[in-house]
């Protein structure tokens, strides 16, 4: 049945047919959101302002960006930061996934939801919490260890490349964990069992079958972690810049923060980062498609096969508990503790007396906080609403309309996944500084940026739920005499709702914690919470920052609670 559920207009006419108008408008919006800024970025990276509002084309920007004395160290730092983080994150995530999925470690099912908890902690707060813990001057862990063992110098220094790698990694572990859990879950245990039945012992089975089968997944997980680290700016901003360890994203930020801002050099750097990210995403997509070839016929649902670790399972239990106490729980505790202090101090009886609600009281009358909170909430809900509306429309056209060329929309909606947050910010600056639309410096430019960046997430929820609806369900409604609108209202929409709500809430969460795009676009009145945290932390109001952080986490937790209630599962999108 080749009947698209688009209302028929009777005759086919290219110009007025609404069945064509809707997709064209959709394509127009996507081009405006995703392609235009990139075009501006590209053009801008070749321009230099010789006099006010007068530009010439030049390669000077690229020279400044890629042939300076800092190029080499920035490149090297980025490479070490990204590969180190990807490696560490992968190892931790795989260990957690394997122990909880495939072994008989005690209490393992309890650890599964706990492993995902760090997702709730915005990157900025993750960095701040670990600075509280590992700063060479006042970090709690350093002070404790020095007191405990009588050390003369602090054992840890978070303001270093290893420090950056550690902090960024622990924030990313949940992602690696979920991807690897999925990999372990989708592996047919009879592939391993048949190796054993062929006479291979446990080690041979692991080496020649398990490991080999996991390799494609492991490769693509490492790749996505590498790209995400390269794009990230939270740790490079809060730890890297004070430590004078600059990576790609911080170079872009600094080019923008010079006086006068060097948009050209920033643009040239951004183009490079964009290309790197695009190549990464392309390779990832290809790898996961290749992976599909690895699927074989599967029968019944997989019976999970668990390795008996013997007494080693207590070692596994120790690892899991240690991880959750020190890596998951400690950052939350330290923020919570610090938020009640007048100034930063190590936990002690003396400090205990100083605990008060002063920071929270102060926030009650602190206008920038309320402004930022209002902006963050407004942006989160608006972004989620706009993005979900747009993507459900686009997904419907792509998967249900059977229009030739619908795949172009699908592609356009996928493009933003390749745009690193800071590159998005840079592109929009170049676009709206040049464009005569006066939205630069308002929250509207942030809305545009967020919507664009999170379109791919929306697409995933929307297309997932649309694909679930078999056309026959809609056709059955039509056959029962329901009009197009009746069908949409009574069949399509109710079936779509759970997926769309899940997508809405997910975008709400990521918008609420967004940092790397906002850092270039949010100024003055349009400041959002994550940026307020950043500036106040730089100014040294660390305990007030902790209080804001606690409130932010509380807000996010309540959104997640709703998310759980509505979807009943843990899920993230990459």
């Amino acid at each position: 049945m080749a009947t698209a559920a688009i209302p028929r207009t009777g005759k086919v006419s290219m110009s007025l047919d609404p069945a064509l108008l809707v997709p064209l408008v959709g394509a127009g919006i996507l081009v405006y959101l995703a392609v235009l800024p990139l075009l501006m970025l590209f053009v801008g990276s070749f321009q230099a302002e010789v006099a006010p509002r007068e530009f010439v084309y030049t390669l000077k920007n690229y020279q400044a960006a890629y042939a300076s004395e800092y190029t080499y160290s920035t490149f090297l730092n980025s490479l070490i930061f990204a590969s180190g983080s990807a490696g560490l994150t992968f190892i931790l995530g795989t260990m957690l996934a394997w122990l909880t999925e495939r072994t008989n470690t005690p209490l393992r099912s309890l650890f599964v939801p706990l492993a995902v908890v760090p997702l709730i902690l915005p990157g900025v707060l993750e960095s701040i919490a670990w600075i509280f813990l590992l700063s060479p001057k006042f970090g709690y862990l350093n002070v404790w260890l020095m007191n405990l063992f009588g050390l003369k110098s602090p054992p840890f220094n978070v303001f270093s490349l290893p420090g950056m790698i550690w902090v960024h990694s622990v924030g990313q572990v949940p992602l690696a964990f979920l991807l690897m859990v999925a990999a372990f879950k989708s592996m047919d245990p009879s592939l391993e069992e048949s190796a054993m039945m062929s006479g291979a012992n446990t080690w041979q089975t692991f080496r020649r079958v398990t490991l080999r089968l996991l390799m494609p997944t492991a490769g693509s997980v490492l790749l996505i972690l590498f790209v995400r680290t390269l794009e990230s700016f939270e740790t490079p901003a809060l730890i890297g810049i004070p430590a004078r360890i600059y990576v790609y994203t911080s170079e872009i930020y600094l080019a923008f923060n010079e006086y006068p801002p060097d948009y050209g050099r920033g643009g040239a750097l951004a183009v490079g980062l964009l290309l790197l990210s695009a190549v990464g995403v392309w390779m990832y997509t290809r790898a996961t498609k290749e992976g599909k070839k690895f699927q074989t016929v599967t029968g019944k649902a997989f019976r999970p096969r668990q390795f008996d670790l013997g007494s080693w399972r207590w070692v596994g239990f120790g690892f899991l508990s240690g991880y959750f106490l020190f890596v998951v729980l400690l950052p939350f505790l330290v923020l919570f503790w610090a938020s009640f202090l007048p100034f930063f101090a190590t936990p002690s009886l003396d400090a205990l007396n100083k605990l008060s609600l002063d920071n929270y009281r102060y926030l009650g009358t602190f206008r920038p906080f309320w402004e930022a909170l209002k902006n963050s909430i407004l942006l989160a809900t608006l972004t989620a609403t706009v993005a979900m509306t747009l993507t459900s429309l686009v997904a419907w056209i792509v998967y249900k309309s059977r229009l030739p060329g619908a795949w172009i929309l699908d592609f356009l909606a996928f493009v933003p996944i390749t745009i690193p947050g800071i590159v998005m910010g840079m592109s929009l600056i170049l676009l709206y500084v040049a464009f005569p639309i006066p939205i630069y410096g308002t929250i509207w430019v942030l809305l545009i940026a967020y919507v664009t960046r999170f379109i791919p997430y929306g697409m995933r929820s929307a297309s997932g739920s649309i694909l679930q609806i078999h056309s026959e369900l809609e056709e059955a409604a039509s056959a029962s005499g329901a009009s197009w609108w009746e069908t949409f209202k009574r069949v399509t929409l109710p079936l779509l709702r759970p997926g769309l709500v899940a997508g809405w809430i997910y975008i709400c969460i990521v918008s609420f914690r967004e940092f790397s795009t906002s850092v270039l676009l949010a100024t003055g009145d349009s400041r959002v919470l994550s940026i307020l945290l950043f500036t106040m932390f730089e100014q040294g109001q660390v305990t007030v920052v902790a209080a804001i952080g606690v409130l932010m986490i509380a807000t996010l937790l309540s959104i997640v609670a709703v998310f759980y209630k509505l979807t009943g599962k843990v899920g993230i999108q990459t």
Binding site: A195, A200, K293, V297
Partner: protein, 367 residues
């Protein structure tokens, strides 16, 4: 040869008791025979097979494969799966997607305890592939094979080590109907040719009836009946077996007289029927008389001779090509029967059914 003695497997279900998936079963698969465990899903047949393979550790009993004890709950013997002289084919085939056809078959030869020269590996793989008619496919990636070919590849891989025993876990359930029919035949031929002791697990009665030397029907973790296919089909010992294998008519009644020689008279709502009777039933027992649809003779005129003749009316008649499927309304019972395609009847026609006494079986009414 496989010997199973009082095998028990309990799955932990969080309760203190646990689920007894396999509840004290014993059976023997004689050398070179094709033995089938048949039963609905969840009856414990796959669990039994996995215990023999060594993929599950049983909780009680003993397992001997080719005369060697591989599991015993008494003395704690547990030979790991990879040390048992067993070849196994999985329901999902479990073909390794990262290897070629050749590598898949060569794997058991390469990982085994004894070193086999690469020339021998070549030769043995070639023989194994020829056995399943996959010669010439060696260099293909395993995933490029069709479902039926993957199935045969799995078989070649299971046989290449020349195991004492072959275990097959619903190997045909992922194939389409036509292919399944052919593979049924090929599998049986291969087994008869190699004379390899085979244990087959399935929920499909046709597979069980057509391939096996012996069938054990399982339900709720126990074997309810063991016997040759013909006996299982024609002389079911319980209502469960009669229902599970083939379609069957049932008429409840009471034994009025034991005639001897395993026959009896049963009074049903539609008159007296003489039939075979299960040992142990006595006069007065509540019974169910079962009779297969194809056993019933249908007469359009009242027959002058013959016993067990009951008058009835055609309820429905469906022409199915190979045969006509008729529903016949007796006084109280409704019988289903398969008749030759030449039969021409209409709803409401008067007919007489003749139930051959030798093909009617009285079974206990309660299980």
């Amino acid at each position: 040869m496989i010997e199973i003695k009082s095998l028990v497997k309990i799955y932990d279900d969080g309760d203190n008791a646990g689920v007894r998936a396999v509840n004290d079963i014993s059976f023997t698969v004689e050398e070179g025979r094709f033995y089938t465990l048949l039963g609905p899903s969840g009856c414990g047949k796959t669990t039994t097979l996995r215990c023999i393979a060594g993929l599950e550790k049983a909780n009680g009993g003993e397992i001997l494969v080719a005369g060697k004890k591989v599991f015993s709950a008494l003395d704690g013997t547990f030979v790991p799966a990879y040390r048992r002289p067993i070849g196994m084919v999985f329901q999902s085939y479990a073909i390794w997607p990262h290897m070629t056809v050749f590598e898949n078959v060569a794997f058991p030869l390469r990982v085994g305890k004894e070193r086999i020269s690469s020339a021998d590996v070549q030769k043995k793989v070639k023989t194994a592939l020829a056995q399943v008619e996959l010669d010439g496919y060696g260099e293909r990636m395993a995933t490029q094979l069709s479902g039926g070919q993957q199935q045969r590849l799995a078989l070649a891989r299971a046989l290449v080590r020349e195991p004492q025993v072959l275990l097959l876990d619903e190997p045909l359930s992922n194939l389409d109907a036509k292919l399944r029919e052919r593979m049924r035949f090929e599998l049986r031929e291969l087994q008869r040719r190699l004379r390899i002791t085979t244990l087959y697990v399935t929920h499909d009665q046709i597979e069980a009836l057509s391939m096996s030397n012996v069938i054990a029907v399982m339900n709720s973790g126990v074997i309810v009946q063991e016997g040759a296919p013909r006996d299982i089909y024609l002389q079911p010992k319980t209502k469960f077996v009669a229902n599970f294998i083939g379609s069957t008519n049932q008429m409840t009644g009471q034994v009025t007289k034991l005639v001897g020689n395993g026959t009896a008279t049963v009074r049903t709502d539609d008159g007296e029927i003489s039939c075979s009777i299960l040992d142990g039933l006595t006069s007065g027992s509540r019974v169910v008389v079962v009779v297969r649809p194809e056993s019933i003779n249908l007469h359009q005129q009242q027959p002058s001779v013959g016993s067990n003749v009951i008058a009835g009316k055609i309820g429905a008649a469906m022409f199915l090509g190979e045969y006509v499927d008729c529903t016949i309304e007796l006084g109280k019972n409704v019988l289903q029967t398969h008749q030759r395609y030449t039969l021409q009847v209409r709803r409401g026609d008067s007919v007489w059914v003749e139930l051959p006494a030798g093909e009617c079986m009285a079974l206990p009414a309660e299980q």
